[in-house]
């Protein structure tokens, strides 16, 4: 793996980034987070041997932000700083245009761009085989299906082009939708024939021939109870207004569910040919994430957490900036530091 961070380190980093983006609408913090993510992206792209991403991320981000800004300005007429007024009788776009709506749209665009770039970093850093390995043991049939599918996709695309060339040699032209039929049907039939051969080979090699160890009624029952627990927590949180109790119930239900899945997975033997190790770089990134968690959630007296919940309405003002939170958020850029260090 070219980026050389543990899979769970990347997952933790992704979760921390999403939480950081979700908890704030402060433009200063959002800009800091985005800068960190873009720096990480450039380092991953540099270290990766898979080549550049198929589209310009920065251009896409600017497009999303500008569109969101314009869209919100056009349809939202709230705020006190009016810079243009169109006749009220014009449907939808009529009324005052405000600076607050413009900035609010920009904030939304930055949040969406941040989520996109965080997942792009994650997708670029993680090879496909590592993503498949993340599938829990309890889902081994699904993991096998995904492995087959991922293996067969390049073959399918290759076969598609072979069929296309063969049909072109026979004088086939793509004029209407029906002209695609001679391409699609051989692709489907060829794929299904391969599936038959594959299933025979799997059966011959004894795949899934062993009897399952014990029944799974207890696992399934535990999962249903956990889901009901989560559901109850959600109802308590949103309908009854007891947010802390509700979130506690949701968390407990989710943990019980994951425990039931882990329990079910214990019945499935699994062999690992490649074991990942936690290294110093992982420790650096994880430490950074702990610092972010403390800055965002631990009740330190010297941290002004109200700056996270910034709103542009009703009158646009400069958002507050807490240097402790700002410095902690820079920790999201630590994967870039580790990748750069290893490269040297």
């Amino acid at each position: 793996m070219s980026t050389q961070l543990h899979t769970w380190t990347w997952l933790t980093w992704l979760a921390a980034t999403l939480v950081a983006i979700s908890v704030t609408r402060n433009l200063f913090y959002l800009t800091l987070i985005l800068l960190c993510l873009l720096v990480v992206y450039s380092f991953i792209e540099d270290a990766n041997q898979r080549g550049a991403y198929p589209f310009s991320l920065l251009r896409f981000g600017i497009l999303v932000s500008v569109l969101s800004m314009l869209f919100n300005m056009l349809i939202s007429h709230f705020g006190e700083t009016v810079f243009l007024t169109l006749p009220e009788e014009w449907p939808l776009i009529g009324g005052p245009y405000t600076l607050e709506a413009l900035v609010y749209g920009l904030t939304n665009g930055l949040v969406l761009f941040g989520i996109l770039i965080a997942f792009t970093d994650f997708n670029q850093a993680m090879p496909v085989r590592m993503l498949i390995r993340l599938i829990p043991r309890a889902f081994f049939p699904v993991a096998v299906v995904i492995s087959i599918a991922v293996t067969f996709v390049p073959t399918t695309i290759r076969q598609f082009y072979q069929i296309k060339e063969a049909q072109m040699l026979r004088g086939q032209r793509m004029k209407s939708l029906r002209d695609w039929l001679p391409l699609v049907m051989p692709l489907l039939v060829g794929g299904l024939e391969r599936a038959l051969q594959l299933s025979e080979a799997m059966t011959a090699r004894g795949f899934a021939s062993a009897a399952p160890k014990g029944g799974n009624t207890a696992h399934r029952l535990a999962m249903v109870v956990s889901m009901l627990w989560v559901m109850a927590g959600w109802v308590v949180s949103t309908r009854a207004g007891w947010e802390t109790l509700g979130l506690g119930l949701i968390l407990a239900g989710a943990l019980a569910l994951l425990a039931a899945l882990w329990w079910a997975g214990r019945q499935v033997p699994r062999t690992n040919y490649l074991k990942e190790k936690l290294r110093t770089g992982d420790a650096i990134v994880l430490m950074g994430i702990v610092v972010i968690g403390l800055a965002l959630y631990f009740p330190f007296e010297w941290i002004d957490r109200s700056s996270l919940y910034y709103s542009v309405y009703p009158l646009l003002q400069w958002p507050d900036f807490d240097p402790w939170i700002g410095t902690a958020l820079l920790g999201l850029g630590l994967p870039a530091y580790v990748i750069g260090l290893r490269k040297r």
């Binding site: 939480v19 979700s22 908890v23 704030t24 609408r25 991403y53 198929p54 969101s68 349809i75 939202s76 609010y104 749209g105 949040v111 969406l112 989520i115 997942f119 792009t120 997708n123 889902f139 049939p141 699904v142 096998v144 299906v145 995904i146 492995s147 087959i148 599918a149 991922v150 996709v153 399918t156 695309i157 598609f160 939708l177 695609w180 699609v184 049907m185 692709l187 489907l188 039939v189 794929g191 299904l192 599936a195 038959l196 594959l198 299933s199 799997m202 899934a208 009624t217 399934r220 249903v224 889901m227 009901l228 559901m231 959600w234 949103t238 309908r239 207004g241 949701i250 989710a254 919940y309």
Partner: protein, 280 residues
């Protein structure tokens, strides 16, 4: 312990959690609009929705895979998902007009021919595999997987209906399936918008706001949908309709032919030597 009742219960609970998670903007209580907590909840609600939906999806997939899987179905599903993911890969490389996507065509037809569990897994795994391959893994993925799973699962409902009306192999069968594909082309957009809509919450008449009440929320969503998504979804629905109408009949014939080849049951009988060893 008899577990015959457990499976329907799991389907019911998980589908209920999925539906409630997606429809949560309409269920929230009235009265906190404009307040600071409302603003905070606008930010954390989509995250909670993703978690709830993801958990329900995990349980549903666990249940379905346990009942539907054997070697032949695993291979069949793997290859069909590969074909569909390749179509999505081509769609990402050469984007079609509006919301057009070729992936629903096979999800509908496999759900119709091979049954609800197979259709559900086909929908869920097509979206997952194509997301892994095209770098599309994100918080939107559980909603996409759940909805595509529903497309495949619900297609199976049509089978007894059309067989009961003796429409198998008739032209009407394809017209009804094409209509069903068009319906889900629209519904997919309606449901997927529910994920993004609260996330871009704002004060305008078309945006979600915490605690404004169910009717106000429905009105806002309707305005938002008509303005931003209707045309996009009409293109997707038309694409599904035309694809099923154009390719549906030969594809159904092929899937049915292979269904017979894939559903043979192999029951090994022990050889006399093995039997004598066991008894001895």
């Amino acid at each position: 312990m008899k577990s015959r009742w457990l499976s329907p219960l799991i389907y019911l609970v998980c589908s209920l959690v999925g539906i409630v998670s997606l429809l949560y903007p309409f269920f929230l209580p009235q009265g906190t609009t404009g307040a600071q907590p409302g603003l905070q909840r606008s930010a954390d609600m989509p995250l909670m929705l993703t978690v709830l939906l993801g958990l329900a999806l995990l349980v549903l997939v666990y249940e379905v895979q346990g009942q539907a899987m054997n070697t032949k179905l695993i291979a069949l599903l793997g290859v069909l998902v590969a074909i569909n993911a390749a179509l999505r890969f081509l769609e990402v490389a050469i984007p079609g007009p509006g919301g057009f996507s070729p992936v629903f065509f096979l999800i509908v037809l496999t759900g119709y021919v091979y049954g609800a569990r197979f259709g559900f897994l086909m929908g869920v795994l097509t979206l997952l595999v194509s997301a892994i391959l095209t770098g599309g893994v994100g918080p939107w993925l559980p909603s996409q997987m759940f909805t595509a799973g529903w497309v495949g699962m619900s297609a199976a409902i049509l089978r007894p209906l059309l067989l009961g009306l003796h429409l198998k192999g008739q032209g009407e069968e394809i017209w009804i399936l094409a209509g069903f594909g068009a319906f889900w082309g629209m519904m997919y957009g309606v449901i997927m918008n529910l994920w993004t809509w609260p996330f871009i919450a704002g004060p305008a008449d078309q945006y979600w706001e915490y605690g404004v009440g169910i009717w106000e929320t429905v009105q806002r969503y309707a305005s938002y949908y008509l303005l931003t998504s209707l045309v996009w979804d009409i293109v997707r629905a038309s694409g599904n309709f035309l694809l099923i109408l154009g390719f549906g009949m030969p594809t159904l014939r092929t899937l049915r032919r292979f269904k017979q080849r894939f559903t043979f049951i192999y029951k090994p009988t022990p050889s006399p030597v093995a039997q004598s060893n066991l008894s001895g």
